[in-house]
C-alpha cells in the first residue's frame, strides 16, 4: 500500500473513535400526547434520554406495562463496550499504518463479527425488556401483547410509535469499516492490474 493510501486508511479508521462519544443507536417514541417526542440514545458506555428526563419519563411510562426500568448501571455490556471499540480502532489504525493487508482483512472479519454480536446482544436486551414483564405490577395488561422495540425501523407499541435508527456513532464505525474495505478493494485491484 502506498503511503498516501495508508494515511487515508488510518484516518478512516480513526473516525471510528467517534463511536466512543456519539450515540450508537437511537430509539424515538412518539404518541398523540407526546408531540415533542421521547427518546433514548444508546452510547458505548451508557443509555441516556435524548432530552433531559426522557429516560426517567420513559421508565415512568413503562411501569404501566410492567417493563423493567432501564438502568444503565445494570447493563454490563456498557462497561466493556468502550474498551472493545477502543481496541478495535487502535488495532485497525496500527494495521493500516503498517499497510498489513492480510491483517486488515482479518480485522474486517473481526469487526463484522463484533458488529453482528453487538446487534444480536442489543436485540436480546430489547427482547428481554419487551417480553420479561412483571405481571404483578403491570397496570395495563393486554393478553399476548409484548413490547419489544424494533432494532431498526418503526413499530407500533400501544399508543407509541417506536422508531429505531443507527446513531452518528454507528455511522462513524461505518466510515472505519467501509474505509478499510474500500482501500483494500481499490489498492488490491491496482496491484493485480
Amino acid at each position: 500500500m502506498a503511503p498516501r493510501a495508508r494515511l487515508l486508511t488510518v484516518l478512516a479508521v480513526l473516525v471510528g473513535l467517534g463511536a466512543l462519544v456519539l450515540p450508537l443507536w437511537e430509539v424515538r417514541l412518539g404518541a398523540p400526547q407526546y408531540p415533542e417526542g421521547l427518546g433514548l440514545q444508546i452510547h458505548a458506555h451508557t443509555v441516556t434520554g435524548i432530552k433531559p428526563n426522557d429516560l426517567q419519563n420513559i421508565n415512568g411510562l413503562n411501569h404501566y406495562i410492567g417493563m423493567k426500568p432501564i438502568l444503565p448501571d445494570a447493563i454490563p455490556e456498557l462497561r466493556y463496550m468502550p474498551w472493545l471499540i477502543g481496541a478495535l480502532i487502535v488495532s485497525g489504525a496500527l494495521l493500516a499504518a503498517r499497510g498489513m493487508r492480510r491483517g486488515l482483512w482479518v480485522w474486517l472479519a473481526a469487526f463484522a463479527l463484533l458488529g453482528a454480536v453487538g446487534l444480536w446482544d442489543f436485540w436480546r436486551w430489547e427482547h428481554d425488556y419487551g417480553h420479561n414483564l412483571d405481571m404483578d405490577t403491570a397496570i395495563i395488561v393486554i393478553p399476548g401483547m409484548t413490547y419489544q422495540p424494533p432494532l431498526i425501523g418503526s413499530k407500533q407499541l400501544l399508543n407509541f410509535t417506536a422508531t429505531a435508527w443507527p446513531g452518528t456513532g454507528a455511522m462513524a464505525l461505518g466510515v472505519a469499516f467501509f474505509g478499510v474495505l474500500a482501500t483494500l478493494a481499490v489498492t488490491g485491484r491496482g496491484r493485480t492490474a
Binding site: 419519563n57 415512568g60 404501566y64 438502568l71
Partner: protein
C-alpha cells in the same frame, strides 16, 4: 375555501340581522375576509400574546390574537381556589399587606417590561387599585413572583406605567388621603390630603423598591405615561379634581375649564434624592417575593420611605393645563407629543414636549399652585383634534404616524393623524369603549396591525346570560387606510387595559417543569422512599408524592380531631404538562394544583372523626380515577398510632421506583427499609 365560506356566512348573518330589525351602522357588517384574518387553524399558533387586566377579578387573563382565544388566567391579587394560589403556605404571603392579608384587588393596567422603549418579554407588571400594590409576573412561568404595596396611597390607578428601560414603574393615586393616614375630618381635605406619585425601581426581579414618593397637592392622579425618545427622563400624569372636592365629585370635580397634566422630571428627582433633598418618612408597607428555587413566597414589612417635596427640588414638576378632567395621557412613539384625553372635552388636546421645554426655559408661567409652576396652555399646546367625538379617553399609536383615540360617550374609535390633527376614520364599537390597545402602542416602534377595543357594556352582542353579561373586546384591523372590524370576543372580569407583544418574544422561553434535583423547598419529597408522616405535638406533617397514577403514602391513620395537618405534596413528575391535583373531603380551603417538580403545602384541621378520602383533581393519566387515598381521623386522645401505609400496588411501584432512582442500589434499599420501618411503627 372554507374560510371564504365562513366569511360569506358571517356576511349573511350580518345581512339577516340588519334586515330583520332597525338597520344598525353599516360598520357592523364585517368585510368578507374577516373570518380568515382571525382564524388560527387547529395546531397553529396565534401571532401575539395579549395580556388583559381582569379588573374586579384581581387576575390577569392571557389571550391569543388575532383569534381572541383565552389561553390562561394568572392569579395576582386574588385568591384562586382553582389552583390554590393564596391558600397554600407557599403563596399566602403574596397577599399580605400592611392591612393584613387582602385576598382581592382590582387590576387595571398591565405593563410589559421594556428595553430601549420596546417590549422585551421579561415581565408583566400590573397594579392593584383598591389597596395600592404593584405585581411582577414572570413571563417564563406566567406566575406572580413579586408584589410591592404602595404606602401613603389609596386608589393606585395611575400605575404601573414604565420608563423605557424598565428603570421605574409608577404608582400615582386617584384618592388623595392624609399623609400619614390619620383620623381627621374629611372637610379638612385641602390642608391635610396629599397625592403621592411613587417611583418604584423595577429592573431587578425580587427587588422592587420605592425610590421616592413625590408629594403632590391633593388632586386625583388618574393615569400616567413615561416620556420616551426626546422626552425620556420625564413622566406625565393626568389629574382631575384640581377643584379639590371631597364630596359629590361628579359635579364638584367637573367645574373647572381645565385641570392639569403633571410633568415630572424623574431624572432631576433622582438627582435631588441623591443630593439628600428627600426626607425619610415612617411608613408601613409589604414587600412580597417568590423564591424560584424553593417556589415559596415570603412577606416583609418595610417601615420607611423616601419622600420628596416638589418645593425641595425646584423644576421637578410643572403643571400643563389640560381641558376638562383629563383621563388618559399617552406619549407618541417619538416622545414629542403628549396626548390628553379630556373626558368632558370637545377636543383632543396635544402638548408638545419641545414647546414645553421652551416654555420652562422662558418661564412662560401662568402662576403656580402649591409652589408648582403652571405653564401657559398656549405655550405648550401642539394642536387640538377638532370634533373628534364625545368623551375621549385613551390614545394609542400605530407604526405609521397615526393615533387612535377611544371615545366612551360616542362609543367609537377615532383615527387621526399626528401633526395635522385631522380625523381620518371612525369605527363604532359596541358599547362604550374604555381603553383601547394597539400591540406595542406604547413602544418607540409600535407593532401596529390591530387595535383592540375594550368595551364596558355588552348588551345584545352575545347570547344573553342573565342580568350580568360578559365584557366584550373587539379586534379591528388597522393595517389599511380604513379600520376593519374583525372579531368580537368575550373577556373575563373587566379588562381595563391590555398590552400585547409578538409571541416569538416569549413562546420559546417557557419553563416546562421545575427541577426536583434543584428544589430547595424544605418539604420537598423527591422519591417515594422519602415520603412519610411525622407528628410534632398537635401538628402533623405529611410528606407525600404524586406520580402517575398514585399518591404515596395513600393510607394515613392516627390523625386526631383538631390536629393541624400540613399536606406537603410534591409532584415528582419531570415532564411537561403532567400536573396533579390534591383535594380532601371537607377541607375548608381549596384544592392545590401541582406543576411538575413542585411542592405545595396546604393546612387542614379536621373537625370530626371519620374517614376522609383524598384524590387527584387534575386528570393526569389513564389510571387517574385510581389516584386516591384515605385518611382516618380519630377522636382526640384515641391513641391510634400515626402510620402512613402504602397500598400493595403502590408498594411494589415504590420498590421499583426506588430501585430505578438510585444510583447506588444498596443505599436505597437501606432508605426503603427505613421508610418501611417508619411506616410500620
Amino acid at each position: 375555501m372554507r374560510n371564504q365560506a365562513l366569511g360569506r356566512l358571517t356576511i349573511m348573518v350580518g345581512v339577516v340581522a340588519a334586515a330583520g330589525c332597525t338597520p344598525k351602522a353599516p360598520q357592523q357588517l364585517v368585510s368578507g375576509d374577516a373570518a380568515s384574518r382571525v382564524y388560527v387553524a387547529p395546531g397553529e399558533y396565534d401571532e401575539l400574546y395579549s395580556f388583559m387586566s381582569g379588573g374586579f377579578s384581581g387576575n390577569v387573563t392571557v389571550y391569543g390574537l388575532p383569534s381572541g382565544r383565552l389561553l390562561k388566567t394568572i392569579p395576582v391579587f386574588s385568591q384562586f381556589p382553582e389552583n390554590g394560589y393564596g391558600y397554600t403556605e407557599e403563596t399566602k404571603p403574596m397577599l399580605e399587606t400592611s392591612y393584613g392579608a387582602v385576598p382581592w384587588d382590582d387590576t387595571h393596567h398591565p405593563q410589559l417590561s421594556q428595553t430601549k422603549g420596546m417590549a422585551d418579554g421579561r415581565w408583566l407588571f400590573i397594579n392593584g387599585n383598591n389597596t395600592p400594590r404593584i405585581a411582577r409576573i414572570d413571563l417564563t412561568t406566567f406566575e406572580t413572583v413579586e408584589i410591592l404595596e404602595i404606602p401613603h396611597a389609596a386608589g393606585g390607578h395611575a400605575s404601573p406605567f414604565i420608563t423605557p428601560n424598565s428603570e421605574y414603574v409608577v404608582s400615582a393615586i386617584r384618592f388623595s388621603v392624609p399623609v400619614p393616614n390619620v383620623d381627621v375630618p374629611v372637610e379638612t381635605y385641602k390642608q391635610n390630603f396629599k397625592g403621592s406619585l411613587s417611583f418604584v425601581r423595577a429592573d431587578q426581579p425580587g427587588k422592587m423598591e420605592i425610590a421616592f414618593q413625590l408629594m403632590m397637592p391633593g388632586y386625583n392622579y388618574d393615569l400616567g405615561r413615561a416620556g420616551k425618545g426626546k422626552s425620556d427622563g420625564w413622566f406625565f400624569f393626568t389629574t382631575y379634581n384640581s377643584e379639590q372636592a371631597f364630596t359629590n365629585l361628579e359635579l364638584n370635580a367637573s367645574k373647572s375649564d381645565k385641570d392639569f397634566m403633571a410633568a415630572v422630571n424623574w431624572k432631576l428627582a433622582e438627582k435631588c434624592v441623591a443630593d439628600g433633598k428627600a426626607k425619610t418618612a415612617p411608613a408601613r408597607y409589604a414587600h412580597n417575593t417568590f423564591d424560584h428555587s424553593s417556589r415559596q413566597s415570603k412577606s416583609e414589612m418595610i417601615t420607611s420611605v423616601r419622600m420628596l417635596m416638589p418645593t425641595d427640588c425646584p423644576g421637578v414638576v410643572y403643571f400643563l393645563p389640560t381641558p376638562k378632567s383629563p383621563h388618559g395621557v399617552n406619549v407618541d412613539p417619538t416622545g414629542e407629543y403628549i396626548v390628553g384625553g379630556g373626558k368632558l372635552a370637545s377636543v383632543i388636546p396635544v402638548h408638545s414636549f419641545t414647546k414645553m421645554i421652551a416654555a420652562i426655559e422662558s418661564k412662560a408661567f401662568d402662576g403656580e399652585l402649591y409652589g408648582i409652576p403652571i405653564l401657559k396652555y398656549e405655550s405648550v399646546m401642539a394642536g387640538e383634534v377638532q370634533k373628534p367625538g364625545l368623551g375621549p379617553l385613551h390614545t394609542e399609536f400605530d407604526d405609521k404616524g397615526n393615533a387612535y383615540t377611544s371615545m366612551f360617550i360616542s362609543s367609537e374609535i377615532v383615527k387621526w393623524k399626528l401633526g395635522t390633527w385631522e380625523v381620518l376614520d371612525r369605527m363604532p364599537v359596541y358599547y362604550s369603549i374604555g381603553h383601547l390597545m394597539v400591540p406595542g402602542g406604547d413602544n418607540v416602534k409600535p407593532y401596529g396591525k390591530y387595535v383592540v377595543a375594550m368595551n364596558k357594556i355588552t348588551k345584545d352582542r352575545y347570547l344573553p346570560t342573565g342580568a350580568e353579561l360578559t365584557q366584550s373586546a373587539q379586534l379591528i384591523d388597522i393595517s389599511g387606510d380604513k379600520m376593519k372590524m374583525l372579531l368580537d370576543f368575550p373577556t373575563q372580569g373587566e379588562p381595563h387595559y391590555a398590552q400585547a407583544l409578538p409571541a416569538s418574544l416569549i413562546r420559546d422561553k417557557q419553563v416546562k417543569f421545575f427541577s426536583l434535583a434543584e428544589s430547595t423547598h424544605p418539604f420537598v419529597t423527591r422519591a417515594e422512599s422519602e415520603a412519610g408522616v411525622s407528628r410534632d405535638g398537635r401538628n402533623v406533617h405529611v410528606k407525600m408524592i404524586a406520580i402517575r397514577s398514585h399518591f404515596a403514602p395513600d393510607v394515613i391513620e392516627g390523625i386526631e380531631v383538631g390536629d393541624t395537618v400540613s399536606w406537603h405534596v410534591t409532584n415528582v413528575e419531570q415532564d411537561w404538562d403532567i400536573l396533579h391535583g390534591f383535594a380532601v373531603l371537607g377541607m375548608n380551603t381549596a384544592e392545590i394544583i401541582l406543576q411538575p417538580g413542585e411542592t405545595r403545602t396546604i393546612k387542614w384541621v379536621p373537625q370530626k372523626p371519620g374517614i376522609y378520602p383524598f384524590y387527584c383533581t387534575d386528570f393526569c393519566s389513564a389510571l387517574h380515577q385510581e389516584m386516591s387515598g384515605y385518611v382516618r381521623v380519630s377522636a382526640r386522645g384515641s391513641g391510634v398510632k400515626l402510620t402512613s401505609g402504602v397500598s400493595a400496588k403502590a408498594a411494589t411501584q415504590q420498590a421499583r421506583a426506588g430501585k430505578y432512582a438510585a444510583p447506588k442500589p444498596e443505599t436505597h434499599a437501606h432508605e426503603a427499609a427505613q421508610a418501611a420501618a417508619k411506616g410500620g411503627k
